[in-house]
């Protein structure tokens, strides 16, 4: 089925077209969402919302870009919205915990001593790196994640973000510099003198 036929099938709400859409773009959608969210279960849940959005908005797709690029745009927007929601929820949870007197920050003081295994250390490193990436300005984060995690060429990233090729290069360059600074803060043992 060609892209035009697939789009027509989705517009007519045909089941086989939905099946092909999911089979063709499932991995792209889930993986990209996962790179932004850092959690596979969340990425899988979000993928359902993304496919619903694709079908609901297919009539607005003017085919000035490829379907793949358009789906990337929806995925990135939805994933970033979810990151923002999680941050907001995190703030409310912390405020709520303070009022209920079970401040999660203090529980560490009473926790039993944990034997630092490689897995635990690796998980901590992952969390720190994910936090450092989340702290990047939104445009830099999109360009960096699509380039380094999703292996998308700069031209494709320019299409997804609707910006010029030099702008993509500049965003990725600045993202790397900022990330190095963030990581240096997270891992003081690697602090550079630069």
């Amino acid at each position: 089925m060609t892209e035009a036929e697939l789009i027509a099938g989705i517009k007519e709400r045909q089941r086989p077209a939905f099946q092909i859409l999911v089979d063709r773009y499932r991995d792209q959608v889930i993986k990209t969402a996962f790179y932004f969210l850092g959690d596979m279960a969340d990425a899988e849940d979000l993928s359902q919302e993304i496919f619903i959005e694709i079908i609901q908005s297919i009539h607005d797709f003017r085919q000035t870009s490829t379907l793949k690029t358009w789906i990337y745009r929806i995925t990135v927007n939805k994933a970033l919205n979810m990151v923002k929601q999680r941050k907001r929820r995190g703030i409310f949870f912390r405020i709520g915990s303070l009022f209920h007197g079970d401040n999660p920050l203090n529980t560490q003081d009473f926790a039993e001593p944990v034997i630092q295994t490689d897995a635990v250390e690796k998980q901590e490193t992952r969390t720190m790196i994910q936090k450092a990436i989340d702290k990047l300005p939104e445009n830099q984060r999109i360009a960096f994640v699509l380039s380094r995690f999703d292996d998308q060429p700069y031209k494709e990233i320019a299409g997804i973000m609707n910006i010029s090729l030099p702008a993509v290069e500049s965003l990725i360059f600045r993202a790397r510099q900022n990330l190095q600074k963030q990581l240096a803060k997270s891992f003081p043992e690697y602090k550079s003198n630069l």
């Binding site: 007519e12 709400r13 045909q14 089941r15 086989p16 939905f18 099946q19 999911v22 089979d23 499932r26 991995d27 889930i30 993986k31 996962f34 790179y35 850092g38 596979m40 990425a43 899988e44 993928s47 359902q48 496919f51 619903i52 079908i55 490193t125 992952r126 790196i129 994910q130 380094r148 995690f149 360059f173 790397r176 990330l179 190095q180 990581l183 240096a184 891992f187 043992e189 690697y190 602090k191 550079s192 003198n193 630069l194």
Partner: protein, 149 residues
């Protein structure tokens, strides 16, 4: 190689394959400079994080879950429609069976007035019989007395 050159090469190595002299320059510089060695270690941590993320795989049944959600959300005009007949036939068949049961019941049992009439007849016949027996006994007794005398 200066520290600035090292960092530039560190950034560029993701976009292009570094030449052999560039790589050996980086190795030499990282052995001499602790700060750049730390930068390299940090970037390797990031590289390993990215590699791990790329290896993550979604649930194998995710397609089914997504399609089920889409089916719940959207109506498929080409989906095979279920006939409403089995649903309608059930109560109709039940009503018919109930009606048939009532009819059979009505036909096989007598109306209550008729039953009462038969019962009255039986009681009258029994009374007649009892009366006959009493008279017979009285007559027999009478015969016995007359014989004694």
């Amino acid at each position: 190689m200066t520290c600035k050159d090292f960092i530039r090469s560190l950034e560029e190595r993701h976009d292009r394959n570094l030449t052999e002299p560039e790589r050996s320059d980086m190795d030499r510089h990282s052995q001499e400079c602790a700060s750049c060695r730390n930068q390299l270690a940090m970037m390797e941590k990031l590289g390993s994080f990215i590699a791990d993320s790329k290896n993550a795989t979604p649930n194998p049944f995710i397609s089914t879950r997504i399609l089920q959600r889409l089916e719940a959300e959207f109506a498929f005009p080409d989906a095979p429609k279920k006939s409403p007949w089995p649903l309608l036939l059930k109560p109709v068949a039940l009503t018919l069976a109930l009606a048939a049961g009532l009819l059979i019941g009505t036909l096989t049992t007598r109306p209550s007035s008729e039953t009462a009439q038969v019962e009255n007849q039986d009681a009258a016949q029994f009374d007649e019989l009892k009366k006959d027996l009493f008279i017979q006994e009285f007559v027999d007794e009478d015969k016995k007395i007359s014989l004694i005398h």
